[in-house]
Amino acid sequence: MASTTEAPPRKNRVPRRPGDRIFAGVSTGSGVLILVALAGVAVFLVTEAWPALTASAEEIPGGEGLVLYIWPLLFGTLISAVLALVIAVPLAVAIALFITHYAPRSIARALGYIIDLLAAVPSIIFGLWGMNVLAPITVDPASWLSEHLGWIPFFAGPPSSTGRTMFVAILVLAVMVLPIITAVVREAFMQTPQLHQEAALAIGATRWEMIRMAALPFGRSSIIGASMLGLGRALGETMAVAMVLSASGGVSLNLISSDNPPTIAANIALQFPESSGIAINTLIASGLVLFAITLAVNMIARAVINRRKDFDGAN
């Protein structure tokens, strides 16, 4: 611990004790350290990515330059995260509604814990489960989809025989972000003013009409914010995608074939241990892109959620 400072107390003021100064200094220092660390993440990533940013196109793996290296990965990242969200958000809102408004009061807490348990499962286990259990199940439905709905670009086929496709990766991602979205939305629904709900019921609304009139408008910004949080998580999820997705290819909307681009995070995990030199710098550059995107998404999410907090004071 630092030695006590000797600044004399000013006149007409209660003297601050050395203990107080030290304690205030150390705790403020920790707070500042966090800001420094976050800035450090950005600075170190940029320094390590710099050789790849300045390298000529031939030196980058693939030989076509940094932008063409990252673009398919970025596309894979975005499409998997967004489609996972399309599946997860309606389910999460429904589950949050079930826990707060439909389930019996006595077991609602326990049900909440069960959903939270889903968030506690390590991503490596979702990876193992996805490639061993979920992927084989989807083989038959995927071939049915490509046969009957092949005119939709998502299901163009030809279907992969292992089932380790983008489609399965999206499902696994949806399962993984589900508890995160549910937790935030559930909080918001629980805080719906009791008076609004009772007023709705008193004028003869059914339970669904009460939810539509009172709970959903109250929780709307939370749903948006929670979706963004889930998006941030889905964008950065690494191991589950790296293990489930056995595909390599260019930009493609086709979800059930074996030529999908991997995601940025999964690509780093797969390539990093065997890379060296400029390849490492390239991977770090792609990580920098991921960092920038998740940072932006999270900042928007927090801004949306915090705006609701300010608004809460009016109630």
């Binding site: 403020t28 993440v41 320094t47 506690a120 399962v175 549910t182 780093i268 770090i284 940072l295």
Partner: protein
């Protein structure tokens, strides 16, 4: 609503109560919905057992049949508003059950496949010289404990002190910035945290560096924001009267915090820290990048590669070698150990918050 005074075509029977209209008119008979559910379930079961269909389409078909029957029946008897209500109830409950499916499936799969390798050798041997069957995860378990322990050692003091700053001292722009960026930090992808630690240690030790401590730094980046958030929530719950009573006795602010505020919030803080540990102990990606993998025991976090459970499981599955079945068994075994650790930590966290919660009376 508009006036709904309909004039009945016949004169109402004035002698009967309510003009002869039954109290339960316009409602489905009591127990109609559960009965339909049971009937639909039985029909699905029959299809599964007798017609030899797969179980998933049977369950889906039964659920769809229930929704369609109840909706049309209710719409005919009770009107569209009640029918919509019943439809939403069914859909919302169905969504919850649907979410339970992956959870149950994950737990059943990991337990049934992981329990194969639960023998003494698995927990007491490392992987030195093992190429076929046998081998163990002793080195990986120790590595996980060391790296996670170091991460906790770094994150808990920094996280708690930051939370104390935010609640007790923080005013103005700095506090606002810290709150906001701690929130943002919660969303840093784990692989980016790993790359950060790697980049940091490359500057100090040169390219290709792998060590357990770098993994601990990466995990700290992920752990600090959770510790800050949970500690902050708990400190905010400490009643201001306690602080004021302490000040009134001329106790300095720092002693008030250490002796009054922290003990009151301790149970909640311990819960938060345990949950934060549970969150990072299963991380794979940052350790893959920073700590790497080794077959033997390495318990020195500042020197050389260090295996953790999750990375071990990943490599056993990704590059199983010649004796694939044995490697797969080890991968599932390590995954099961990891899941048990995480679940136990979660239960411990709940137990702490139950047992040591401050007595209100």
């Amino acid at each position: 609503m508009s006036t709904s005074l309909t004039t009945p075509e016949q004169d109402p029977d004035l002698n009967a109560p309510l003009g002869g209209v039954s109290l339960t008119a316009g409602q489905l008979p009591r127990g109609a919905a559960p009965a339909t559910l049971v009937a639909a379930g039985l029909a699905g079961l029959l299809l599964w057992l007798l017609a030899d269909w797969a179980i998933v389409p049977c369950a889906l078909l039964a659920a769809a049949a229930y929704v369609v029957i109840v909706y049309t029946w209710s719409r005919a008897v009770e009107g569209p508003r009640k029918a919509t209500d019943r439809f939403v109830t069914a859909a919302v409950s169905g969504a919850f059950l649907l979410a339970l499916l992956p959870l149950v499936s994950v737990i059943v799969t990991v337990v049934s496949r992981g329990v194969v390798r639960f023998d003494a050798e698995f927990f007491s041997y490392s992987m030195v010289g093992v190429s076929g069957e046998g081998g163990g995860i002793y080195h990986a378990m120790m590595g996980t404990l060391i790296i996670t322990g170091l991460a906790a050692l770094i994150s808990v003091p920094i996280g708690m002190l930051t939370a104390i700053y935010l609640v007790e001292y923080g005013r103005g722009k700095l506090a606002k910035a810290i709150t906001f960026f701690v929130d943002v930090m919660t969303g840093i992808p784990s692989i980016v945290a790993g790359l950060f630690a790697y980049a940091l240690f490359v500057m100090i030790f040169g390219p290709g560096v792998r060590m357990g401590f770098a993994g601990a730094v990466a995990l700290s980046v992920l752990m600090i924001p959770t510790v800050v958030r949970s500690t902050e929530e708990m400190l905010k719950l400490v009643p201001n009267e306690l602080r004021e009573a302490s000040y009134a006795l001329a106790v300095p602010k720092w002693r008030t915090i250490v002796k009054v505020v922290l003990p009151t919030a301790l149970a909640g803080i311990a819960t938060g820290v345990t949950l934060a540990i549970a969150r990072v102990i299963g991380e794979t990606a940052p350790l893959l990048v920073t700590a790497g993998l080794t077959d033997g025991d390495n318990f020195d976090p500042f020197e050389g590669r260090m295996t953790t459970l999750s990375v071990f499981s990943y490599y056993e599955y990704q590059s199983p070698g010649l004796f694939a079945e044995a490697a797969y068994d080890r991968a599932w075994g390590a995954a099961l150990v990891l899941m048990i650790i995480v679940m136990v930590l979660n239960l411990v966290a709940r137990a702490i918050s139950k047992l040591f919660a401050p007595k209100t009376r």
